[in-house]
Symmetry: C2
Amino acid sequence: MTTQEMTHGTAGQATAGAGRPAGRPRSEKAEKAIIEATLDLIAEGMGVAELSIEAIASRAGVGKTTIYRRWSNKEDLVADSLATLKAPLPAVGGVSVRDDLITLLAAMQNEAGQERTRCLMNIAMSDADRYPRLMGRFVKVAVEPRRKAVRDVVQRGVDNGELRPDTDVEVALATLSGAMLWYTKWGNGELTDDLAERIVDQVLSGIAPL
Amino acid sequence: MTTQEMTHGTAGQATAGAGRPAGRPRSEKAEKAIIEATLDLIAEGMGVAELSIEAIASRAGVGKTTIYRRWSNKEDLVADSLATLKAPLPAVGGVSVRDDLITLLAAMQNEAGQERTRCLMNIAMSDADRYPRLMGRFVKVAVEPRRKAVRDVVQRGVDNGELRPDTDVEVALATLSGAMLWYTKWGNGELTDDLAERIVDQVLSGIAPL
DNA sequence: CCGATACGCAACGGTGTCGTTTCGAAAGCT
DNA sequence: AGCTTTCGAAACGACACCGTTGCGTATCGG
């Protein structure tokens, strides 16, 4: 973690032998509650800057002390919170590149419709410059897995001949994901069911004649 | 404007005849300074929520009174400020669709490298949900012109046969712009000079074989 | 049981912003 | 001139957080 060991770890202190903390152990439940509250508030539209320790403590049903004992600053707390996010990715069929890409993009579109995801994405976009360390964390746990899923499908297509051998995989990735991102953010309500399909088909076929 | 006429306009009051304000007129300079300060602070990374009237007043060299006299709340001030933004778009050559798209995307990439644009984009992304009225404004003055520029080029290509007649213009637009957006936000430093070219060429030719 | 530590809670002094008000000094009109 | 309105500046009381501290209680090891 990041600043977990302010006084000591939770069960660490390996070598010293007699080092067992000797006292009431930290409540694992409180820790969970704090992180949950943090994510909740973020998911309600709070930017990192507006997050207040008091609000988190209150929401978590916890004393501020309990928070400060574990994290010395807000950024560390948020970083650890983001790190707990699991990314449930849709499984792809593996039959055709086209189908798999549509599946992934449709999932992306669906996620973008959820409030929680929207807010997390907002943070990713807007607080990225201000809290680079924090964003590294977020990109790693939330963005990168999705990016990898798309990249793997594209790469597979290149390898097995479903796509051109000279395909620029990174650009393809940006094109597909970026198009969906663009639509979910600024596409004026035109989020139809066949959107993923339209994007994928156009990226596959191109728009130049023949 | 939005709440400009709290007590009266600046020189309005048309019909009533005797209606001339009769007193010291409002300083046009102060108004400019306030708006400039607002944009400055935003451009320095402030989210809308963190913007403080005090900071704006101080930055503008103006009393808070002068601000409150004109705008009853922060959102109106920000909305009016955003409305003053001009969008200097690159002129396209009009020779070939490919060249024009590369020009537009390269300009987009270049703009995304500037701090001011980055911050404005951040606001557009993250505060969009929280301040929908405000975003309508911003989209209209900043996003839509660029979207239109790309769309016009694509549409021209469709019309004159440089692109397939059945091209989905909106998807093409999302694909091109979205790819660049994606790269500038999360492309790990791989912002090479030929990026615009690579994106455009791939969108044109597609990635399916033949 | 004892010592140690963590718990939730409430309070501390300090800071920053809020929106409003008051002030003396411009700056316009008649 | 006199009147009106705005100007910048400063102060107001109110509130929200900050990070810290003390309190009484709970929960561990020895």
